[in-house]
Subunit: 232 residues, 2 copies
DNA sequence: AAAGGAAGTTAAAGAATGTTAAAACACTCT
DNA sequence: AGAGTGTTTTAACATTCTTTAACTTCCTTT
């Protein structure tokens, strides 16, 4: 079970249900942040990274629909599931038109919710078989196990650090790989010197990848790096 | 709307519901094959190509769960939605453990079913409506993923903040992007200094965009900014 | 028209990142 | 142990990004 731990943002004002859900999801190995109103939820969403949002529709300060539409502006892709007491048709439809992935009415069984979450994440993250070690990056083929980056005609052997860093970038394709995360994952410690070392490796990877103009490692100032690949 | 016509396999033994659903889905531009038992459904599945399966759980000859597990052997990836009269918990869970993507209990509204179908296909198939990271702004082409603004002949690389701000403006084309919203979304905090920083970025974006007189970032005093593009 | 706040503009300071080369380290072979 | 090889870190310097500051102009209200 080399499962990647998914992060869930739970917005639910009912204290009982909220803590119950958080506890349950934590137990099922989902890292769950629980907030009790829409405003807090939005602030969390900007600040941290999540794989799925679980939003109560009726909440104080900011309701679930408003929250969802704001989240959609920032991230048009993240899965959203609405929780609601009323099962009124209009509500359901409004939820889906905001790009919800699912809609579940209270009371519901924890297990059913869990299954619905899993059904969605199954689709979101690639096909089954979670732990990859080979990727296609534009015209390149990268084998993390063999530490080789093959381009058209070329074959570049990668050092351990180069390979680990590129692997992390691939795992976060088109998303920001946070500096601190990468530093802790590869260097075990995110101090100034390791950070500078990482910069050096970014430069090296960029050099290897520059033969394909559709592949870029973009810096996100103060945050980290993002590997982006264009389709032709 | 969507140009790609999706194909749906509908297995439902109730003649009334079956034909009603088929008619409705056809009207919504889904090519729908309707069969009235699980055995026929399986033969259809082998023979033709489908993008989604809509399976009644209780059917003569071969029930929906058996059918689904057989389908899963042939195709571990195709979206499956179960329809069922009983909403018993065990049933729901069994359905999901067979890799169902959704589960809907009768009676349900046609519209809700349609929205659920669309929610799933949105994830399954590639280009979805809301998922934009490129825009045309007058004569410019803006790629938020690559952080590049291309004009006629020019190519301006954007910084992270420039790109994020322009992206928000694009998402609110011809509408007011509220200061506070943008500040919270990009700077995480809407204090005085960040607001002044945002002003600086507005100036920068205006500079980049000034080659096209039809494109303007207009200030709405006390509210925010509005990106407007004139058609010729 | 005057006052005060909001927004426009520009420059500079400070922090983060890019780049290159040399130094330090780790490993193997003899 | 010492030479040789490849990897990683440190150092030094260049460049870019973001914020801050100072000053100007515009807008709204009275």
């Amino acid at each position: 079970m080399t499962d990647i731990k998914h992060r869930i943002l739970l917005a639910e004002d009912d204290e009982n249900l909220g803590s119950l859900l958080q506890e349950y999801l934590q137990a099922k190995n989902y890292e769950t942040d629980w907030v009790n109103n829409g405003e807090k939820a939005f602030r969390h969403f900007e600040q941290f990274h999540y794989d799925l949002c679980l939003l109560d529709v009726m909440m104080p300060v900011k309701d679930g629909f408003t929250l969802a539409s704001e989240i959609r502006i920032l991230n048009s892709d993240i899965p959203i599931i609405f929780l609601t007491a009323k099962s009124m048709k209009e509500d359901v439809l409004e939820g889906f038109s905001l790009g919800a992935d699912d809609y579940i009415t209270k009371p519901f069984s924890m297990e059913e919710l869990l299954f619905r979450i899993e059904a969605i994440l199954r689709r979101t993250k690639g096909p089954r078989g979670g732990d990859k070690d080979t990727w296609e990056i534009g015209t390149f083929a990268f084998d993390a196990k063999k530490q080789v980056l093959r381009g058209t005609g070329t074959e570049q052997k990668l050092t351990t650090k180069e390979s680990e860093l590129l692997k992390l970038l691939c795992n976060n394709l088109n998303q920001v790989l946070e500096r601190n995360f990468a530093l802790k994952a590869i260097w075990m410690d995110d101090n100034y010197f390791n950070a500078r070392s990482m910069d050096v490796y970014i430069t090296k990877l960029r050099k290897y990848l520059k033969t394909d103009a559709n592949v870029q490692i973009i810096n996100v100032h103060g945050k980290g790096y993002k590997l982006v690949v264009d389709k032709d």
